[in-house]
Amino acid sequence: MAPDINPLVILFASIFTGNILLTNFLGMCSFISISKDMKSANGLGLAVTVVLTITTAINWAMMRYILIPLDLMVYRYIVFIIVIAATVQMLEMIIDRVSPALYMSLGIFLPLITVNCAILGVALFMQIRNYDFFQTLAFGFGSGLGWWLAILALAAIQKKVARAPVPAGLKGPGITLITIGFMALAFVGFSGMLNVQ
């Protein structure tokens, strides 16, 4: 039932050729508002990667062992979103208890992540593409890394853009979107390497 693709290939494909942000437009809201400085971009990227890896794995298990046997796939949206919200809440509490330093750098980004479309998007893609457990793990982790890479690159470019003479109407979101467009164009260059759906 699962497609015959090596999980490592899925990992690389989800970072480069099928970057969740640049080819599927997922996770744009927090991407545009947070990408102004490198430090928060890094924190948010790390948080997204951690949450994405964990929730996609849990959602896979929920789907495989609860939703499919009980024939409740109609309710998958609600189940997925509850799993994501609950995981984020628990992570927040655990990190707060274990490492206050990490909480200071990561904690403020966690609530933002519940409404990040990339998290739910990866869960839905994983379901549509019928991945098995290890493929799912690679897909979740790779998508997180890809998102992290994209937001870091954008934050770095934004630093240069901030000093460039941009027309008044284009300032802010306009130029950010056009910059993302160029990044997406650069990533299209990777698509000749692998093609995994």
Partner: protein, 202 residues
């Protein structure tokens, strides 16, 4: 509660406070389907309906929800309407539902819906909340339909699947690829903002 008239809300949601080019909200779930006009129309219509109905529901039960859990309650209300929309799409237009794939489900995390529930429906009566949700959806639809029209026309020479440009037309491959959506939306925001700046100056 406040003196917003229906006409003022309409103007605000369509132009001065447009969800896309002023608030930059909710583009994640829909930008991906803008390479095809039919899909974009169905998708934005779904977003409009879900925004309207969930705003109404949030407004109706706003007195019953404790403040602390309101986010999760709002998410569940939105998820409920998205499931309804998904079932209707799958029953009546299965091919389009298949083409939209995971993006219908992603309406749940569309920031506009949560944004309207939080910013407007929480503190306004149900009828106004419905109107606000619907007009926000229309403002959102207008921008994306323009982008989809350009992308499908130049990328495939068709509109809603019908051949519009003649056989001699060379299709622009970039228009069907993801980067063009970013470029078009960026340019659209540029144009809209320039007009607004000019208006303010005069």
């Amino acid at each position: 509660m406040n003196n917003d008239t229906p006409a003022a809300i309409l103007k605000r949601n369509l132009w001065t406070d447009n969800p896309i080019f002023v608030q930059i909200l909710g583009i994640c779930s829909t930008l991906a389907v803008t390479n095809n006009l039919t899909n974009t129309l169905i998708m934005t219509l779904a977003v409009t309906i879900v925004t309207g109905l969930s705003s109404t529901t949030v407004s109706l039960i706003k007195g019953l929800i404790p403040r602390k859990v309101r986010m999760i309650v709002q998410t569940l209300i939105i998820a409920f309407y998205v499931i309804l929309v998904d079932i209707v799409l799958r029953a009546y237009i299965p091919e389009i539902s298949k083409a939209l794939g995971p993006y219908v489900g992603l309406i749940i995390t569309n920031c506009i819906i949560m944004g309207r529930a939080e910013a407007f429906a929480q503190s306004n009566p149900p009828v106004m909340a419905l109107w606000d949700g619907l007009t926000s959806g229309v403002g959102y639809m207008a921008v994306l339909v323009i982008i989809a029209t350009i992308r499908e026309l130049l990328g495939a020479g068709t509109l809603m699947g019908y051949q519009v440009l003649g056989d001699g037309f060379t299709t622009w491959t970039i228009m069907v690829m993801p980067p063009s959506a970013f470029f078009l939306l960026g340019s659209f925001i540029w144009a809209a903002k320039s007009i607004m700046i000019k208006k303010e100056a005069s």
